[in-house]
Amino acid sequence: MCVPVSLLRNNALTYLGYSDSDLDEQTQEALHSALTHIAEWSAYKQIYTRLKDLPEAPAFLQQESYVGLQGKLDTALLFAATLGLGIDRRIQSLSLNRLSEAVVLNAVANAYLETRVELFIGETLPGGVLFCPGYAGTSPEGNRSVLKLLNAQKHLGIYLKDSGLMIPEKSMAGIVVAGYSFSCRACSIRSKCDHLRQGKTCYGKPAPHREESRNAKADNIKA
């Protein structure tokens, strides 16, 4: 699947805070170089299954945070994707002696993974969003169930550490669901959320409540 470079570039710039500003020459070069690194070092892989194809629904979906999902699960997917370890290594190496390039590559890698996932969702479950356990006040333990059910360690090489960190770092796991918006109110990093400040959510949709986005801006000013 081809990822439109302009879309990827714009998403990466959003991560870096550049959305409304002109790029300087060196950052342009770093962006170009990051795209080359992505082509060379990343190995996008994904796996998914329809929730209804599982013998029973994963237990974490019974938790209160997911109560609003009931009735939306018929079409939902369990999903995981990764860019592999190569890009993690490249970012780490760059961060030792070319830190500004590492920051740009980190942003481009995040954007690339998210863009690939969005394109997949657009084709497979139009109108769907990938919701990752751990956000919006949900327990990150849900990731463990998702990855286990998908056998993502074997098929994609995604390990989940005791701390909840996924290795490779550029990995995503969660549930793709259509017709539902998660609230950001309970999210622990809401006050620092770059997405929310820009009126979006971390799962790629407009912020569900304008007020949330305004509050995030206000919190940020206080900080």
């Binding site: 300087d24 070069e29 190995a43 013998p55 961060s95 920051v103 390990y159 701390s163």
Partner: protein, 774 residues
């Protein structure tokens, strides 16, 4: 190998898990427990494979190791005994061999995970010690991490004499999940003494054909290949495989043509599949000649030892105070930066020497080896005069390295040749012995021949040795230069690879770079293959590239042309203020030269560096510049500070004190912490960077040893906040007198207060403001 291997293609069994998973009566149990809970089912599967014609069957023990079986209701011994007994019963009186199946731990090894190399080794050692008298051999399978299979191989080889087969799994990109290519896997497994390396699981058989060919190009050993029966399809909670048995068998034939010697099946295959494959058993096994030349590798980079390579010499503390200090402080970040700089400058592999007085070289060389391999994928040349240090580093090195060095002395050969043989490493061989360095070419050649003979007796081919013709200072005897050149010519006539440590030649004379460069070209024309030199010396590298282009060592002059292709022209300035403001790294030397003629260091700091940084900071806060630009400015300012410090260390008193930084235990995100480090250093602070995933105790120890100005802790994930909190608490309990500053994506002002931190820094510039107020 073993008499196990015949002159014909041989047949392994197929999947066990596929059959068990499809059986609703048993598929909710741990497969290994079924050896005790439903032995008749396991026995039936084994028997079906024997009847299908399999010449090897594997025990149902994939997860039977202490780490993976720790939640079982049965002991490891019970499970292993039952697994072996069932396979033995199935094999009966037939000639079918019973191989103990050993799989990965399912845990992630250091540095990405928590599982240590020796812990992994001990895990497998437990299994091998218990089973070594009960099976016909071992098969390690479905490993995806070269480091983990290394630990398992050592556990088998050091604790049994049984045949060992070892296979890894590759994804559709043709690499293992941790990035190793088929060549690297073949090389490393062969080097470690595996009798039959190979591939299992992975993908469809047709996708493995090119991978088998690539392995075959590196090793002449028999190859075991057990593919999946196509790609898995996840449906209704179970996995199925789309390929037909007939197609699978057809492609198995192609795998044999490509170089597979023993074939079997993995996920999706059944006794029916294996029965159809039995026709291949009559095919004669091709014999493969040993591969010409010798390779070394890291876990992700393969390198053929040949003329035209450069070994970087800068990871050696002799005469380098900064490196010595970094090693004493366990500041491996400095070593990592040096390694990466040499890689960027064009080195192909790196010499690593950590010999400093009053340090435990065995421990230090191991830690340095691991740390450099975390970030730099160039193969290493492990350099020590201490055989124990070499042995320990060879053990933990992920890949196949060079060691530096052996020589003609009896005790040295006795200590090091067995290590070379065990780990399959290459070695630099010095043409000296216990009598010293011969002053004649003949004397040096005599030693070289002795080394070759002694190595051959241990099964080590001379193509694994790189002979050092030895360079001594021409200032002490002008004949020494010519002696080295003559030795190089004679060594080349013996058909061996050559090296020299270049810079010794100019010791004691003025303008050493000129002499080094000139001697490099003389040595290259005399037969020098692989110089050990400083790759950051651009003139040396240019000479080398020119030589390689002119001598044909650089096919089509590709490297030479690429090196000289025009690079983009960047904005230039000779104003230090502007250079820092715009982060113009390339202009820094020019700007520093200019300003040092005009101002004293203190003036430069007060009038140019700090004002420029302040301006960048203000623009950042107003969102006129963004993070990449802020960091570029900080990186340039940091270099300027370093240069000022080196030039005027006596005159300046602008070091702002030491700050200890760490990303807390459990968290391996360190870009944020690295940004803070660069910005602090750009403002003149010294930083002791403890790295990521740092234990509380290590932070306390850093406080006790260094009494820093402040300690900065970073955490990116909510799940690692408790770890940060614990570290802050421990520092408070010991009444640490320096403030603790916390930050990171998930940390907020109120969280910082709750955990008892003294300050919360939302970003690097806030950290600077806090430090300035202290």
């Amino acid at each position: 190998m073993p008499d196990l291997i015949s002159k014909k293609v041989q047949l392994f069994d197929g999947a066990m898990g596929t059959i068990l998973t499809a059986d609703p009566e048993v598929n909710s149990f741990l497969p290994e427990e079924l050896n005790l809970l439903f032995p008749e089912k396991i026995l039936a599967i084994h028997r079906a494979y024997v009847e299908a014609g399999a010449q090897y069957i594997t025990t149902n023990s994939f997860s039977a190791n202490p780490i993976k079986l720790n939640s079982s209701r049965f002991s490891l011994q019970e499970v292993l005994d039952a697994a072996i007994e069932l396979a033995r019963r199935a094999a009966g009186e037939s000639s079918c061999k019973v191989m103990l199946n050993i799989g990965p731990t399912g845990k992630l090894l250091e540095p990405l995970g928590e599982l240590g190399f020796e812990e992994t080794y001990e895990n497998y050692k437990t299994v091998v010690e218990y089973t070594k008298d009960k099976v016909d051999g071992y098969v390690l399978e479905t490993f995806s991490d070269l480091y983990e299979i290394r630990a398992a191989i050592l556990a088998v080889k050091e604790n049994s004499t049984l045949p060992l087969m070892a296979t890894m799994t590759f994804d559709t990109s043709g690499r293992t999940l941790t990035g190793s290519s088929p060549e690297i896997v073949a090389l490393t497994l062969s080097a470690l003494g595996v009798d039959v390396p190979g591939i299992n699981c992975s993908t469809s058989p047709e996708h493995l054909i090119p991978l088998v060919k690539r392995m075959r190009a590196i090793t002449h050993l028999p190859l075991l290949v057990q593919p999946n029966k196509g790609f898995p399809i996840l449906c209704q909670g179970s996995v199925s495989y789309a390929m037909s048995d007939e197609d699978f068998v057809y492609y198995t034939g192609k795998l044999i043509e490509a170089g597979a010697s023993i074939v079997g099946g993995c996920c999706g295959t059944t006794p029916d599949t294996i029965a159809l494959m039995a026709k291949y058993k009559s095919l004669p096994l091709k014999e493969y000649a040993p591969v010409a030349g010798h390779y070394i590798c890291s876990s992700t980079r393969l390198l053929k030892l040949q003329q035209g390579l450069v070994c970087g010499e800068r990871l050696n503390p002799t005469g380098k105070k900064k490196l010595q200090q970094a090693l004493l402080n366990s500041d491996f970040g400095y070593l990592q930066q040096e390694a990466l700089s040499q890689q960027e400058a064009g080195a192909h592999f790196l010499d690593l020497n950590v010999g400093i007085p009053n340090a435990d070289e065995v421990d230090l060389l191991c830690r340095a080896t691991k740390k450099i391999q975390e970030v730099c994928d160039l193969p290493l040349q492990l350099d020590s005069s201490n055989p124990a240090a070499i042995g320990a580093a060879l053990r933990v090195y992920n890949g196949v390295p060079v060691i530096n060095s052996i020589n003609g002395s009896g005790p040295v050969l006795k200590a090091l040749l067995p290590l070379l043989a065990k780990y399959g490493a290459s070695a630099v061989a010095l043409t000296l012995d216990e009598q010293g360095i011969p002053e004649t070419v003949e004397g040096r050649l005599r030693i070289a021949k002795r080394i070759i003979a002694r190595a051959a007796a241990k099964g080590i081919n001379k193509n694994r040795l790189i002979f050092d013709a030895l360079v001594m200072a021409v200032s002490s005897n002008q004949h020494y230069g010519q002696l080295t050149l003559d030795t190089l010519r004679s060594l080349k006539k013996m058909g061996v690879l050559t090296t020299i440590g270049l810079s010794n030649v100019s010791f004691g004379l003025p303008n050493r770079p000129l002499l080094n460069r000139s001697f490099l070209l003389m040595a290259l024309t005399s037969g020098l293959d692989i110089p050990i030199l400083n790759p950051l010396d651009e003139e040396n590298m240019q000479s080398l590239k020119a030589f390689n282009a002119l001598s044909g060592a650089d096919p089509a002059c590709e490297n030479y042309i690429s090196y000289h292709s025009p690079s983009p022209v960047h904005e230039q300035s000779d104003s230090l203020y502007q250079v820092v403001l715009s982060g113009l790294k390339d202009s820094l030397p020019l700007a520093m030269d200019k300003i040092l003629k005009e101002k004293e260091p203190q003036q430069i700091i007060d009038e140019d560096l700090i004002p420029a940084l302040n301006e960048v900071g203000q623009r950042f806060e107003k969102k006129h510049v963004f993070l990449p630009q802020l960091i570029r400015s900080a990186e340039v300012a940091r270099q300027a500070f370093q240069q000022l410090g080196e030039l005027y260390v006596q005159k300046t008193d602008k070091t702002q004190g030491l700050v200890v930084l760490a990303t807390v235990k459990g968290d391996i995100h360190d870009i944020g912490k690295n940004i803070v480090k660069v910005v602090l250093e750009s403002h003149g602070y010294r930083v002791l960077d403890l790295g990521k995933n740092v234990d509380t105790e290590k932070v306390l120890e850093a406080y006790r040893t260094h009494r820093p100005l402040a300690i900065g802790l970073s955490a990116l994930m909510t799940t690692t906040v408790p770890s940060m909190s614990q570290t802050v608490e421990a520092l408070k309990e010991m009444s640490a007198e320096c403030p603790v500053i916390v930050g990171g994506a998930v940390i907020t002002e109120s969280l910082a207060r709750e955990m008892g931190a003294d300050y919360y820094a939302a970003d690097a510039l806030t950290a600077i403001r806090i430090l300035e107020e202290l």
